[in-house]
């Protein structure tokens, strides 16, 4: 998995935010449209795309998209990439 593709998948879950503004450093929970429902669609996206179940704490402990990417990557099955 790579960060650019992760950002694209992440941005696809958002309705109001310009994808061009999303970077690895974006603090996603500070986005205007971020809500508990956005969190659920991110969890579903990560399950679909990466076969990883993100815990509530992974989201709570991640500030940036890079943080979340790292958390997902660390949970991937060996050899998944």
């Amino acid at each position: 998995m790579n960060i650019q593709e992760f950002i694209e998948n992440f941005a696809a879950q958002l309705d109001e935010t310009d994808e061009a503004l999303i970077t690895p450093e974006t603090q996603f929970k500070q986005l205007d449209e971020w809500s508990s429902l956005t969190a659920l669609s991110i969890i579903a996206m990560v399950d679909d795309e990466y076969d990883v179940i993100v815990k509530g704490n992974d989201i709570i402990n991640s500030d940036t998209i890079q943080d979340l990417f790292d958390a997902v990557k660390s949970k991937r099955k060996p050899g998944a990439d």
């Binding site: 659920l40 969890i43 579903a44 399950d47 179940i53 815990k55 509530g56």
Partner: protein, 353 residues
């Protein structure tokens, strides 16, 4: 894998009772405007739920549901050999609510009566336990209740749960039938490491009720809870619910060689539409074979599956045998899947308390 097959037991009838008071999610006072409410409705599929008035308990709804079912089936209270009460919102800490219900329902003193304190997986677990007892052949008629008053054990100022959960009681009548050709098949599952994904931290023996546990606190913006209130950690429950139920149903399908093309009804615990649709698509059952009642009643935990059957499938269940698969999943974290056939089932009309 823990699996179970039960022979010679059939569903004879079902009933459901909901309280008269309805809370519409569009007009809940917890949202800043209607568009916020509509967002929640769109993603969960839950438009409203029924809510008990102060002083009414799950056992009160249960009495109505059971009395109607016995009448509609032509069963006398003394015909009932087993009475099982799946419920976590019990009347008292002690005794078990089922004991009190034995007296209220005029069941026999030698009836086999017990509580099963399961949540969302409870109807499926209850079917396996009651069905097993009956399969020996001496206990011929049973009533399995799945009832809950979710609005009483959650905080009304908890925006995370108020729009989602409702109250209901259901009764399922089971009958020993030595000529029954279709078995009921079960798969079980549990992951206690997720015990705090859905839980009430205070009020048990580990954390007794203290004055502190009764103080309401704002734990997140707009989310108020007391220590004794039921907590639902939405993200953790969601992650569990999109993963484990499809896996459990796939295990059921492969273990018992189920041809999913022959499945007439996929009966899912009514968690929310987003979760349930993911499960449905994962095992490739078409929408017209997957009934929902959550738009009207919300998540009623253990009562979800039987309430769906009574409120949405009564005509289909009254006819020939329908091939059904069901999955209950939630608090525990616990889940269970089952395969069964249901036909000639007498579903009572919906009852309002």
């Amino acid at each position: 894998m823990s699996q179970l097959t039960i022979n010679n037991v059939r569903i004879a009838g079902m009933s459901a009772c909901v309280p008269a008071t309805v809370e519409d999610n569009r007009t809940l006072p917890i949202y800043k405007d209607e568009s916020e409410a509509l967002k929640v409705i769109t993603s969960t599929g839950i438009e409203r739920h029924h809510k008990v008035d102060e002083g009414t308990t799950a056992s009160d709804l249960t009495v109505k549901a059971v009395e109607r079912l016995l009448t509609d089936l032509g069963w006398a209270p003394e015909d009932v050999d087993i009475f099982a009460y799946v419920c976590t919102s019990r009347d008292y800490i002690a005794p078990q609510t089922s004991c009190i219900l034995q007296d209220r329902l005029k069941l026999r003193n030698d009836c086999c009566v017990f509580d099963l304190p399961f949540g969302c997986s409870g109807w499926v677990y209850g079917m396996s336990i009651v069905g097993s007892l009956m399969s020996h052949g001496t206990l011929k008629r049973a009533i399995l209740v799945a009832a809950e008053t979710n609005t009483l054990n959650r905080n009304p100022r908890d925006t995370a749960v108020r729009p989602l959960f409702g109250d209901a009681a259901t009764a399922t009548a089971l009958e020993f039938d030595p000529d029954r050709s279709h078995p009921m098949n079960f798969m079980f599952g549990v992951d206690g490491s997720g015990y705090d994904a859905v839980w009430a931290p205070y009020g048990g023996m580990r954390r007794p009720v203290t004055p502190e546990a009764l103080v309401e606190k704002e734990v997140a913006p707009g989310v108020f809870r007391r220590g004794i209130d039921m907590i639902v950690n939405g993200m953790d429950v969601f992650g569990f619910a999109i993963k484990q139920p499809p896996r459990s149903l796939k295990e059921l399908i492969s273990t018992f060689n189920i041809d999913t093309d022959t499945v007439d009804l996929l009966l899912l615990h009514q968690a929310n539409r987003f979760i349930d649709e993911k499960i449905r698509k994962a095992i490739k059952i078409p929408p017209e074979r997957t009934p929902y009642c959550l738009e009207e009643y919300g998540n009623v935990t253990s009562a979800s599956i039987p309430l769906t059957m009574v409120s949405r499938c009564s005509e289909r269940l009254a006819g020939d045998d329908k091939h059904c698969i069901a999955c209950g999943f939630g608090v525990g974290l616990a889940w269970a899947s089952m395969e069964f056939y249901a036909g000639g089932v007498k579903c009572s009309d919906m009852i309002t308390y």
